[in-house]
C-alpha cells in the first residue's frame, strides 16, 4: 500500500477563481480551509506564509479566508509549522484548529496526539490537510538553484516556484526556468533521504499535484472527518471533481512515485544503519 489507507481518490480543483489565481495546484488546500472556516468546523489554521515574499516559509496562524488565500502556494523549504501550534491554541485561543502539514509533520502531530506530551494543544486539531512531499530544501539550497544554477540575481525575483515534469521550476516575468531534478540532488535536507512517506499517510485529507492534469490536484480522503469535510465542500460547490481513472496520468503514477520513495529511502536507511547511524522508526 504505497499510498497508505484511504477511502477515496479523486482529481479535484477549487471552483473559486480567487484561490486558483494563487494556488499551487488545484487549490484544494486553500478551498478546504476556507470551507472549514466558513462552516465553523475550524476556527483557524496554521499555514506557511511568506510575509516578506522571499520564499522563506513562516508558520502563520490564520483565522479568515483572506488570510488563507494570502498564504497559498508552495514554498519548497522547511516551515517550522508545529512550533506555532501552542500560540494558536493559547494567545489565539483557537479550540478547533486546522493544520497544513508535510508527511513528516503529520507524523509528528499524530504522535503528539497519541502520547500525552502536550497539554491542550493537539486535542484542538480538527483537520490535518497533508501535502505530498518528495523532499524539501534548506533556504540556502533554493538560493543556489536561483542564482548559481538558473542565473537569477536573487531568489526573490521568482514569482512562482514548482516541482513537476522532472524539473525544479522558477518563474520570472512570466517565463519559466527549469532545473533538472537530478541537479538538485544533494541539496535536499538529509533527513528527506530516509523519509518513507510521500503522500501524508496519516493526514485527514492528503493532496498534491501528481496524478492529475495541470491545475488539478489528486486528493486522497483518509479519515471520516477528512472525507466528510471534503464531500461537504464538493456538495457546496466549492470543489469540482473528476474520477481518477478519467484523468491522465492518473493514480498509477502516484503509486509508482510513492513506492519509489519508499524503496529508495529504505535502501538509504539500510546504508546508514550499516554505518551505525541511528535511524528513526518507520510508522
Amino acid at each position: 500500500m504505497p499510498l497508505g489507507t484511504y477511502k477515496e481518490a479523486v482529481s479535484a480543483r477549487s471552483t473559486d477563481k480567487k484561490i486558483l489565481d494563487v494556488s499551487q495546484d488545484g487549490g484544494i488546500v486553500s478551498a478546504l480551509l476556507c470551507y472549514a472556516l466558513d462552516e465553523g468546523i475550524i476556527e483557524g489554521a496554521v499555514v506557511a506564509g511568506t510575509p516578506d515574499e522571499d520564499w522563506r516559509p513562516i508558520p502563520t496562524v490564520v483565522t479568515s479566508s483572506d488570510e488563507v488565500i494570502a498564504a497559498a502556494g508552495t514554498k519548497y523549504s522547511m516551515s517550522p509549522t508545529l512550533s506555532v501550534l501552542k500560540e494558536a491554541t493559547r494567545q489565539y485561543g483557537l479550540e478547533k484548529l486546522g493544520v497544513v502539514a508535510t508527511p513528516c509533520q503529520t507524523q509528528g502531530l499524530r504522535k503528539a496526539q497519541a502520547y500525552p506530551f502536550t497539554r491542550f494543544v493537539v486535542d484542538k486539531i480538527k483537520l490535518i490537510v497533508g501535502i505530498y512531499c518528495m523532499e524539501n530544501f534548506p533556504m540556502a539550497s533554493l538560493d543556489t538553484f536561483a542564482t548559481a544554477k538558473l542565473g537569477f540575481d536573487s531568489l526573490q525575483d521568482a514569482s512562482k516556484m514548482d516541482i513537476g515534469k522532472g524539473k525544479f521550476w522558477l518563474t520570472k516575468d512570466g517565463e519559466d526556468s527549469g532545473l533538472a531534478i537530478k541537479e538538485t540532488h544533494g541539496y535536499e535536507q538529509a533527513g528527506c533521504n530516509i523519509c518513507q512517506d510521500y503522500v501524508a499517510e496519516w493526514a485527514d485529507v492528503s493532496t498534491g499535484s501528481v496524478g492529475s492534469p495541470d491545475g488539478w490536484s489528486t486528493v486522497l480522503t483518509r479519515t471520516d472527518d477528512g472525507s466528510n469535510i471534503f464531500k461537504a465542500a464538493v456538495s457546496a460547490g466549492l470543489i469540482e471533481t473528476k474520477p481518477m481513472d478519467e484523468v491522465k496520468p492518473g493514480l498509477p503514477l502516484l503509486e509508482k512515485l510513492a513506492k519509489g520513495k519508499k524503496d529508495k529511502n529504505t535502501a538509504e536507511r539500510e546504508r546508514r544503519a550499516k554505518m551505525g547511524v541511528k535511524i528513526p522508526t518507520i510508522y
Binding site: T63, K86, E87, R90, Q91, Y92, G93, R119, F120
Partner: protein
C-alpha cells in the same frame, strides 16, 4: 501529587504529640505539640523538613532570563506567583518598565491563579469540613472552578502549570481580540458558579464544628496589596534567623530546614486573611476566618481578573526589548500569592545574575503556625496547619547517588 500518601507517624511521647509529616499540604513538615494532661497544646512547633531549595543557587552566573524559567519550578502548586515574582524582580534589576498590556496580562494571570489555588485548597481541606454526603459535590465544584480559571492562565501565560509566556520584559505575546472576548464571555458566565462555590465552602466551614477561636494569633500582618502585589520591600525592617536560634528545642532547631524570616524582629502572618484584614476591613481571626477570607478572596480575584482582561488592548505590545546588562541594584518582585507574600530579589551585573533570593509565603508563616495550635486540643492541630494552606515543596530534595549503579547512598536530607 497533592495528597501525600506517605506513612504518617503520630508519636505520643509523655507530653508530646508529633505529626510527621503533616498531610494534605504540599511538601513535608513536622508538627510537634507539647500537651498537658487534657491533651491541650501548651507549645506548638511547626517546621519544614523539606530541605534545600537550590534554585537560587542554580540561577547564579546565568543570564537573567534563566531565573523565571528555573524559579517557577520552586513549586508545582504556586508556580504562577513564583514566575511573576521572578520576572518582576528581574524587570527591576534590569531597570525595565514593562508595557501596560504586559502588566495587565500578568494581573489577569495572577488573579485567575489565585482562584485556582484556593479551589485546590478546598479539595485538600474537604475531608475536614465537607460532610460525607456533599463530598462529591465539593470535588466537582473544585474541578469546575479550576477548569475555567486555568483556561485563563493557559491562554494568557501559555501554560496553566509552569507558564512559558511570562517573560522578563513583559509577556511573550498579547492575546488576540477574539481571545479577549472569549475569556470575558467565559468568565462572565462563570460568576454565578463561583459565587455558589464560595457560598458552599463557607457554609461547610460554618457547620464543621470548629471552635470559634481556634488558631487565633495576633502577629503583625504581611500583605502588600489586595491582589497582585507591589514591588516594594523594606529591607531595613527585614531580618532572618536560623532555626537553631528560633526553636527552643535544639533538636528541632537542628532539623528545621527553612530560615525564619522576621519583620521588625517579629514573625508574621501572611495570606488571604492578612490581605483581607489589611485591605478589605476583614476583622475575624483564626482557622474559620482564614477559610472564610480565602473563599471571599476568590471573588476579589475574580473582579481583579475581569478588570485586567477588560483593560487589555490586544493590539498593544506585551513586552519591551531591554538592556540585559543590569543595573547592579537589587530588584524586588513582590507578588501576593495565594498563600501570602512571595518575595524574590535579584541583582544582575554585566548580564549575569549575581544574587538571587526568594522568601516564599509559607516560609513567612512557618514560625506563626506552630504557636497557632496552642490552647486547643491537639486533635485540632492539623486543622490549624491546613488553614494556612502551607506549601513546603518550594524546595529541592537532595540525595547522594552512586555514579555507577545509581543506588541511593545518602538520603537523610529527605526526612520523612
Amino acid at each position: 501529587m497533592l495528597v501525600s500518601n506517605f506513612l504518617i507517624e503520630v508519636t505520643y511521647l509523655k507530653d508530646r504529640v508529633v505529626i510527621s509529616p503533616t498531610t494534605r499540604q504540599e511538601g513535608h513538615a513536622e508538627l510537634v505539640m507539647e500537651v498537658d494532661d487534657e491533651g491541650i497544646v501548651t507549645k506548638g512547633m511547626y517546621f519544614s523538613i523539606t530541605p534545600v531549595r537550590g534554585l537560587e543557587k542554580m540561577v547564579l552566573n546565568k543570564a537573567p532570563e534563566t531565573a523565571p524559567v528555573l524559579c517557577q519550578r520552586i513549586c508545582g502548586v504556586c508556580p504562577i506567583p513564583h514566575t511573576l515574582a521572578s520576572a518582576e524582580a528581574m524587570d527591576m534589576a534590569l531597570g525595565i518598565e514593562i508595557p501596560k498590556a504586559g502588566k495587565l496580562l500578568r494581573k489577569a494571570v495572577a488573579a485567575a491563579h489565585g482562584i485556582n489555588s484556593a479551589a485546590i485548597h478546598h479539595f485538600l481541606v474537604a475531608p475536614d469540613v465537607v460532610p460525607e454526603d456533599k463530598f462529591a459535590t465539593a470535588v466537582d465544584s473544585v474541578s469546575a472552578v479550576r477548569k475555567v480559571v486555568q483556561y485563563v492562565v493557559d491562554m494568557c501565560a501559555g501554560e496553566g502549570i509552569h507558564p512559558s509566556d511570562i517573560r522578563v520584559g513583559g509577556m511573550a505575546r498579547n492575546i488576540t481580540p477574539a481571545t479577549k472576548e472569549r475569556l470575558i464571555e467565559r468568565m462572565t458566565a462563570f460568576r454565578p458558579q463561583l459565587e455558589e462555590h464560595v457560598e458552599f465552602i463557607k457554609n461547610c466551614v460554618a457547620e464543621a464544628g470548629l471552635p470559634a477561636d481556634l488558631g487565633v494569633v495576633n502577629q503583625p500582618l504581611l500583605a502588600t496589596d489586595a491582589t497582585y502585589g507591589t514591588n516594594e520591600f523594606d529591607m531595613d525592617i527585614f531580618s532572618e534567623v536560623l532555626p537553631e536560634a528560633w526553636y527552643d528545642d535544639p533538636e528541632i532547631g537542628k532539623r528545621g530546614c527553612s530560615v525564619i524570616p522576621l519583620l521588625n524582629g517579629e514573625n508574621v502572618e501572611t495570606g488571604p486573611r492578612a490581605r483581607m484584614e489589611k485591605f478589605a476591613g476583614f476583622k475575624d481571626k483564626g482557622v474559620v476566618a482564614q477559610h472564610v477570607a480565602r473563599a471571599n478572596e476568590m471573588l476579589k480575584n475574580y473582579d481583579a481578573c475581569m478588570e485586567a482582561l477588560d483593560a487589555i488592548d490586544p493590539s498593544a505590545p506585551a513586552n519591551v526589548s531591554y538592556d540585559k546588562r543590569g543595573t547592579g541594584e537589587l530588584g524586588f518582585g513582590v507578588i501576593e500569592g495565594p498563600r501570602g507574600t512571595d518575595v524574590h530579589m535579584a541583582k544582575v551585573v554585566e548580564g549575569k545574575t549575581q544574587f538571587y533570593s526568594a522568601i516564599v509565603p509559607t516560609t513567612w508563616n512557618i514560625p506563626t503556625m506552630g504557636p497557632a495550635t496552642e490552647g486547643f486540643h491537639h486533635e485540632f492541630g492539623p486543622h490549624v496547619i491546613r488553614a494556612y494552606d502551607p506549601c513546603l515543596s518550594c524546595a529541592t530534595h537532595v540525595m547522594v547517588v552512586d555514579d555507577e549503579d545509581k543506588s541511593i547512598l545518602k538520603n537523610e536530607m529527605v526526612r520523612i
